[in-house]
């Protein structure tokens, strides 16, 4: 029963949503299922938070290597949660000045706003910007024209890299109208719109067929891997 019930819930919910796309009378049920999914998605945030706390608390209590970082994670997690729930530094909403907790938690000047503005935003932006350094290093060490395919890839990379900047105007901007299509920005656009589109469409159609097949297997109860180990 413990495994049968989730199977039935998945099957009914899945087929209802599919049917709602084709049968107008079922549309209301489809919306209900979608709404239930939205509630579950919100609950998933709570589960995610609990999971993070569990993983790091276990690591700290067992004093595994790097447990100090887990302490920092837990402290930051608890502090953010506390100031968010208590709306520290947030003024009441202008429409309800008598209600102390009525203001938006992310209001400028509030603690959550401060954490976002001065910690999260710079840290995530800095981490993402490191990518440029690693890509540059990889370009120097690994991008080799070892065969025809690699050579084609390399040539395409050059056209796209230069075609997506003002370099294209300096290098090929002087081309006469008769060969305008060979300007780097036009070549770059052509590659994106023709070769890339063709390849991507093929991949997307393949993925869509795979997703449809897998979804059917799940809804019919053939694939039960999402229920976890044990069967």
């Amino acid at each position: 029963m413990r495994r049968l019930l989730p199977l039935w819930i998945a099957a009914i919910a899945g087929f209802t949503v599919i049917a709602s796309n084709f049968i107008p009378r079922v549309l209301g049920f489809g919306d209900l299922v979608t709404e239930m999914f939205n509630v579950l998605a919100a609950v998933a945030f709570v589960l995610g938070a609990a999971s993070i706390a569990k993983v790091h608390l276990t690591k700290v209590s067992a004093k595994r290597p790097g447990w100090g970082y887990s302490v920092v994670t837990l402290l930051c997690f608890a502090a953010t949660l506390a100031v968010g729930f208590l709306k520290v530094g947030v003024a009441p909403a202008p429409l309800t000045p008598d209600l102390p907790f009525s203001g938006s938690y992310s209001e400028p000047g509030g603690a959550i706003w401060w954490i976002y503005e001065y910690l999260i935003a710079p840290i995530t932006a800095a981490l993402f910007s490191l990518l440029a350094f690693f890509v540059a290093s990889a370009a120097f060490r690994a991008f080799r024209a070892k065969n025809l395919e690699a050579g084609l890839l390399l040539g395409t990379a050059f056209i796209i890299l230069l075609g997506r900047t003002a370099a294209s105007a300096y290098l090929t901007g002087w081309f006469p109208p008769a060969i305008e299509g060979l300007k780097l920005e036009n070549l770059s656009l052509y590659i994106m719109q023709v070769f890339n589109t063709a390849g991507n469409r093929a991949i997307m159609i393949g993925i869509a067929l795979g997703v449809a097949a897998t979804s059917l297997r799940i809804l019919l109860g053939i694939d039960r891997s999402y229920l976890g180990a044990g069967e």
Partner: protein
């Protein structure tokens, strides 16, 4: 020399990349942007909407992609405000509310103070559920976003009257950094409406990584595509040209030139990348000819 290049410490490459990005920023290097047909189509799609149109803006990105998507979001909001459209802000990303708040403060509150919240624009905030939110908004928008970020019920917000589903918007503008984002909006909301008498127009602004994945939908299912900081710079130029025509000689604030400014470091970094690839290949082939490995 060859030996030195073969064993080149990667920190020299890091230094070169650091300088390639830092120097154009320090010297404020700017290069002219000539809008491509793709950017022009995105601009015209938004520009040619009927006066007073309702525009749904979904800001599905976070601080990591802000340097790439922030300037285009600024230009899009500014363009909508210039045209006098009603703007409905939503997000499907947990960090999206801050992105929306930034643009509202930076563009609407600073430069369009006459626009009133709840009448000309509304911030409906974040909703968890990814594609399910899109599906639900398609059939019942008010149930999907029952309150704005101030906690006011949508039934009490003047500009929400007449909105029942996503069909009631003239255009969807999605600024997206990944999943869920532009691709899902096209698949779940825009495409099913394509066959109707008044199809929902759609313009997507996305990161460079996402652009190749969205080109297959353009121009059949997507009316406009703004790809990466390059597309943002082109779009920004078009909006600035429009403002110049409306108000000749008026200075353009730096915040409305951000995308063009960010193209400077991008140019030098791309040229450095091409140079590094060429250098790496020269070393590889020279070593191979001399019988060594690389």
């Amino acid at each position: 020399m060859l030996r030195f290049l073969q064993t080149l410490d990667r920190r020299w490459i890091f230094l070169a990349m650091g300088l390639a990005v830092a120097l154009p920023i320090l010297f404020e290097a700017r290069f002219p942007e000539k809008p491509t047909a793709v950017a022009e189509r995105a601009f015209n799609t938004i520009n040619n909407l009927p006066d007073g149109s309702r525009v749904l803006l979904s800001f599905d990105f976070d601080p990591a992609s802000e340097p790439e998507l922030g300037p285009m979001a600024t230009s899009l909001v500014r363009h909508c405000a210039l045209r006098g459209y009603s703007m409905y802000f939503i997000t499907l990303w947990p960090f999206g509310p801050q992105m929306i708040a930034d643009k509202i403060r930076e563009v609407l509150k600073e430069d369009f103070p006459h626009l009133v919240e709840g009448v000309d624009w509304v911030n409906l905030g974040f909703q968890a559920g990814n594609e399910a939110v899109m599906q639900q908004a398609k059939s019942d928008f008010l149930r999907t976003f029952p309150r704005d970020v101030r906690g006011i019920s949508v039934t009490q917000i003047p500009m929400m009257s007449g909105i029942r589903t996503t069909r009631d918007f003239a255009c969807l503008i999605a600024v997206s950094a990944g999943y869920p984002g532009g691709k899902e909006w096209v698949q779940y909301v825009v495409t099913p409406e394509r066959g109707s008498a008044t199809p929902l127009k759609a313009v997507v602004g996305c990161t460079g990584v996402q652009t190749p994945q969205l080109f297959p939908y353009y121009p059949g299912q997507l009316d406009g595509l703004i790809g990466a900081i390059k597309g943002a710079a082109e779009y920004e130029t078009l909006v600035n040209d429009k403002v110049e025509k409306l108000n000749p000689g008026a200075p353009i604030p730096p915040k409305y030139q951000e995308a063009v400014r960010r193209m400077g470091p991008q140019l030098v970094a791309h040229v450095l990348m091409v140079s590094l690839i060429i250098l790496g290949n020269v070393i590889y082939f020279t070593s191979r000819r001399r019988g060594g490995g690389a």
